[in-house]
């Protein structure tokens, strides 16, 4: 590959323009509006007098409740990402290495199926499974293992289970590409040199798939911290995350300024992560990689 460092943009660079226009009109403009509203007392378009204020942001620092909400959101995001990684990796590995075309197609269907169900219904399916009168509890109680229903929903655990279910496909599909590109002969070479399959995996495959792990984790984390439907339904409305709080502020407190401020905080957290990810990626592999 030629080094792009000192090359001038060529004709192909123009192809970015349509997307740039889309972003300018439909992303930067609205988000800029939101950012502006987060430092105003009201909506300038519909209210006569608005003033500049930092009270929306100050509120977050003054009351520890909001810091707790931010931390809960991040915590759920982290746990979801780790579990999705633990679950997604084996499946991605299998999908990347499977030889038969039908087998691959079936696995793909199975992985895509959760995504196709639709977020609302999928969450309700989990409610059917985890609620006090749901599948898991009814089965365990009828088998006599428990006498009182287990509290599977209404907890962070329930939320994580639901979120993992939604985001594992994203993790799998990110990882399977990277793993697929790892030359199998490298693993074979390691095994020929005396390593057990496990050791070959840990010392050859895993490190080489690190860029994929990072990419998949970043994607899942970003999606998990901005999730709304699943945490609210599976948390039984008793666990408060940033998106839920934002929605509450918009729909029940009609406080768009505060909601916007909360949203900007979420955006900043995500952006910090992207930066951290880029750094980590640079450390891990000096190669060109997709971001």
């Amino acid at each position: 590959m030629s080094s792009a460092a000192t090359q001038r943009p060529n004709g192909l660079a123009l192809f970015i323009l349509p997307s740039a226009l889309l972003f300018a009109l439909f992303f930067f403009l609205p988000i800029g509006l939101m950012a502006t509203m987060s430092v105003l007392t009201g909506n300038p378009v519909v209210m006569p007098k608005v003033a500049f204020t930092t009270r929306h942001y100050a509120r977050m620092i003054d009351d520890p409740f909001y810091l707790e909400v931010i931390w809960t959101t991040i915590r759920i995001g982290l746990v979801t990402t780790l579990v999705a990684l633990a679950i997604g990796y084996p499946l991605a590995h299998w999908m990347a290495r499977i030889k038969s075309r039908t087998g691959h197609a079936l696995l793909l269907m199975a992985v895509l199926a959760p995504m196709l169900t639709g977020i609302v219904v999928r969450t309700f399916a989990w409610m059917t499974l985890l609620s006090d009168k749901g599948v898991v509890n009814q089965t365990l109680m009828s088998l006599g293992f428990i006498s009182q229903p287990l509290k599977l929903m209404y907890t962070e655990t329930g939320i994580v289970v639901g979120l993992v279910h939604i985001y594992v496909p994203f993790m799998v599909l990110t990882l399977t590409g990277v793993i697929g590109r790892i030359d199998e002969r490298l693993e074979q070479a390691a095994e020929n040199l005396g390593a057990s399959p496990l050791r070959a995996f840990i010392e050859v495959t895993l490190p080489l798939s690190l860029p994929g792990i990072l990419a998949g984790s970043l994607l899942v984390f970003a999606l998990a911290i901005s999730a709304y439907v699943t945490p609210i339904l599976l948390g039984g409305f008793q666990i408060m995350t940033l998106p839920i709080l934002i929605y509450q502020q918009i729909s029940a407190n009609f406080n768009v300024g505060f909601a916007a401020a909360l949203g900007i905080v979420l955006l900043v957290i995500s952006l910090l992560l992207v930066i951290a990810y880029n750094r980590a990626l640079g450390l891990v592999s000096g190669q060109r990689e997709l971001q």
């Binding site: 970015i16 972003f23 609205p30 196709l116 990110t174 709304y228 909601a259």
Partner: protein, 284 residues
């Protein structure tokens, strides 16, 4: 030089590989783990199907019977049918625009020698980072400001925004692995840069673009928070209609809606697999 098959001194010096646990068990464990993961992924879907066929009008287990009443209710409902059709339409339009814009952006980023490529890529992926509910509200606010109301193209624009990142990712992935020697070979054989582009580059990145298109379709069809603010009465997407339905009725109709969605989406994916062959390209 020596073609003898007898062990040399070097061979004898190699440690004999003795596995602590026979390889077979490792293999079984691998399969067992993966099968359990598959069960985890598919169990809720099985529940949805059961739910769609159970006659009682609320969540209940074990199911009391098999009935098609919820499917009948779903197909008889004008609201749901319209929402299904509208969702499909929006998804198709979104897929088209996201694919066109995303693929061309990826090309520009990979080959255009743009300054600050990394920053631009990060920016293009940022719609995924912001809670979609804010994006939805922000867009609604903007549309109101510009006095355009809540038109369908506004909804498609919002969907395109949140699906574009996927197309960019998949296309970039293919472009990174692209063997540029193929393009060089074509040019060496006398093809102009434009012809090389259309007859070599484009067909070879097509699977990556198509994989992105599939994601765009699925994500748009299932998209909820952005749609919540941008749909207008009479033109609601299926997820919004379902969500509102659930405020009042928690019965198997949502299960029926879901089963129908899965079947439809499967048909789309299978159709694409047949025509293009997705094997190694459905990766993010």
């Amino acid at each position: 030089m020596s073609t003898s098959t007898s062990l040399t001194a070097a061979d004898r010096a190699m440690p004999v590989r003795t596995a602590a646990v026979p390889r077979r068990y490792g293999r079984y464990l691998y399969l067992a783990i993966n099968v359990s993961i598959l069960i985890f992924l598919l169990a809720p879907i099985a529940i949805v199907v059961v739910f769609a066929l159970n006659p009682t009008p609320f969540i209940q287990f074990p199911p009391v019977g098999v009935s098609t009443r919820w499917f009948e209710k779903f197909f008889a409902s004008r609201d749901f049918m319209h929402a299904l059709g509208f969702s499909l339409e929006v998804a198709v339009l979104t897929t088209l625009s996201a694919t066109l814009l995303g693929a061309s952006a990826a090309l520009a980023l990979a080959r255009g020698n743009l300054p600050g490529t990394r920053l631009i890529v990060a920016t293009m992926l940022s719609p995924l980072m912001l809670p979609a509910i804010l994006t939805g509200l922000a867009l609604f606010q903007t549309y109101v400001l510009l006095d355009v109301g809540r038109p369908t193209w506004g909804l498609v624009a919002g969907h395109t925004l949140v699906t574009l990142p996927y197309v960019v990712r998949t296309t970039l992935a293919v472009l990174h692995n692209f063997d540029t020697r193929l393009e060089e070979a074509a040019q060496n054989l006398g093809a102009s840069p434009l012809r090389t582009f259309f007859e070599v580059t484009l067909p070879l990145i097509k699977p990556g673009v198509l994989a992105g298109a599939i994601f765009a379709f699925i994500v748009s069809f299932d998209q909820f928070p952005v749609s919540l603010f941008l749909v207008s009465p009479g033109n609601e997407t299926l997820p919004v209609t379902l969500f509102n339905y659930l405020k009042f009725d928690l019965d198997g109709t949502i299960g029926a809606a879901s089963v129908v969605s899965i079947v439809l989406a499967f048909l789309v994916v299978i159709g694409l697999d047949r025509t293009v062959g997705l094997r190694s390209y459905v990766k993010l």
